[in-house]
Amino acid sequence: MKAPNPLGQELKPQVPVVELDIQPVERVTLSPVSAFFRTMIAVLWKDLAAERRSREMLSAMLVFALLVILIFNFALELDATAQADVTSGVLWVTFAFAGTLGLNRSMAIEKDRGCLDGLLLAPVDRSAIYFGKVLGNLVFIWIVAAIVLPVYSVLYNMNLFNPGLLLVILLGSVGYVAVGTLLSAMSVQTRTRDVLLPILLFPVVIPVLVAAVKASSGYLQGLEFSDIQPWLNLLVVYDVIFTAVAFMVFDYVVEE
């Protein structure tokens, strides 16, 4: 209802009225499966984009990994004969420690900047957030591996470009990160934070370390596949079991 102006004149509308031929837009409802994947990729993309801008986590992980290798050089007498035996052990210790760093930082960023709260408010499946974080952490650990392997090869005159070794790193990192992401989501909410994650993670992830070290050294020494296969089986079993379990309990870890 138009209020009459003081002069008693009716105001004409300034905007010209135009007839538009608008078709109603069809509401696109995502199927639950594709919504899940889109959320997962969105979380992954967020982590990668943030890291591309600041590069703080990757640089920390990388420098730390290289320092660990350096310390091992002095801690263990890595002469030519000893190297072949201890290489896989040194590599996996490096990945384990650098991985802890990455897991801690990844979750701490979420918590400190309030991203986690934002993610939880979104109407998405919580496990999609979990898998997105897992993928992000995996990418970071693979980048570290991609740099550590050539550096180690150069420093110790070994050829580490073994497809079997790469397979072991793939399987091992999946198991490590699956459990690590869940446990870091818990530890980041405690008082003792960074210190608590290794205490929680390492006892539980021992099967991965044992199997990965044995399989890696098997491939580096050129053993028969039948010798290496049990270790690969163990890695796969661990990955499947713990990814499933972590996916099921993640809700309870992040709910308010």
Binding site: L183, L196, P203, I206, V210, L234, V249
Partner: protein, 232 residues
């Protein structure tokens, strides 16, 4: 002071009686072992303690799952009690085993699969308690504890198999012969009876301690509630 429920008092006496009887059986009824001598007697309580350690973990895992499904706080109390008791008995197992190992294997410790897995299990127990300690909110404390108990209990069998497979391929060189070879013995019927009775006794002991612990937890909760009421 709140009185103990009558069932608990009866259980206390039953446990005490069983423990006295089990100790008597171990020292008087069971025969001396041919090769190892008197030191073999630690086996009865050592294995029973290990059994209680594992039982603690299993009970904690089951009640953790129930707690996560129902949200009823009392299940978390049972979980915590089971883990605490399991931790103590695992420690008793490790120490008593170590004492036995010194004369028999000539070493306080070897990295045999069972010992290694026992150590890792003990560390998981300790990590569980540290996790709970690091969280202030009681609801979150219970949830995190439950999640970690579930993760922990699933990892223990995998750890055992991975290390057992590791050691069968690479035999232990330090400590002389394969540790599994020395120390094996066949049990005569009397030994078997003593052993079974010890297992039973320690299971009853576990139940008794757990009941006490749950009661303690409930009283502590009551104290907290009363404190809150006073401060309001």
């Amino acid at each position: 002071m709140v009185k103990q429920p009558r069932g608990l008092t009866i259980l206390n006496y039953v446990t005490l009686g069983l423990m006295v009887l089990a100790t008597a059986m171990v020292f008087l009824y069971a025969p001396e072992e041919a090769v190892m001598g008197q030191v073999q007697r630690v086996f009865y309580f050592h294995v029973s303690s290990a059994w209680v350690g594992m039982l603690g973990f299993i009970v904690a895992a089951v009640t953790s799952v129930i707690f996560l499904r129902t949200g009823d706080h009392k299940w978390d109390l049972v979980s915590l009690g089971a883990i605490e008791i399991g931790m103590i008995f695992s420690f008793i197992t490790i120490v008593s085993g170590s004492i036995w190992a010194r004369p028999i294997w000539n070493a306080w410790w070897t990295w045999d699969p069972r010992l290694t897995t026992a150590t890792i299990m003990e560390l998981i127990y300790a990590a569980y308690l540290m996790l709970r300690q690091g969280v202030d909110d009681p609801e979150r404390k219970a949830r995190f504890g439950s999640v970690y108990a579930i993760i922990g209990v699933i990892s223990v069998p995998l750890t055992f198999f991975s290390i057992r497979f590791l050691r069968t391929i690479h035999p232990v060189v330090f400590g002389g012969a394969d540790p599994n070879a020395t120390g094996n013995f066949d049990m005569t019927p009397k030994m078997l009876q003593t052993f079974m009775f010890s297992l039973l006794t320690f299971s009853v002991l576990f139940a008794d301690l757990l009941w006490h612990r749950i009661r303690l937890g409930k009283l502590a909760d009551r104290v907290e509630t009363l404190k809150l009421k006073i401060s309001q």
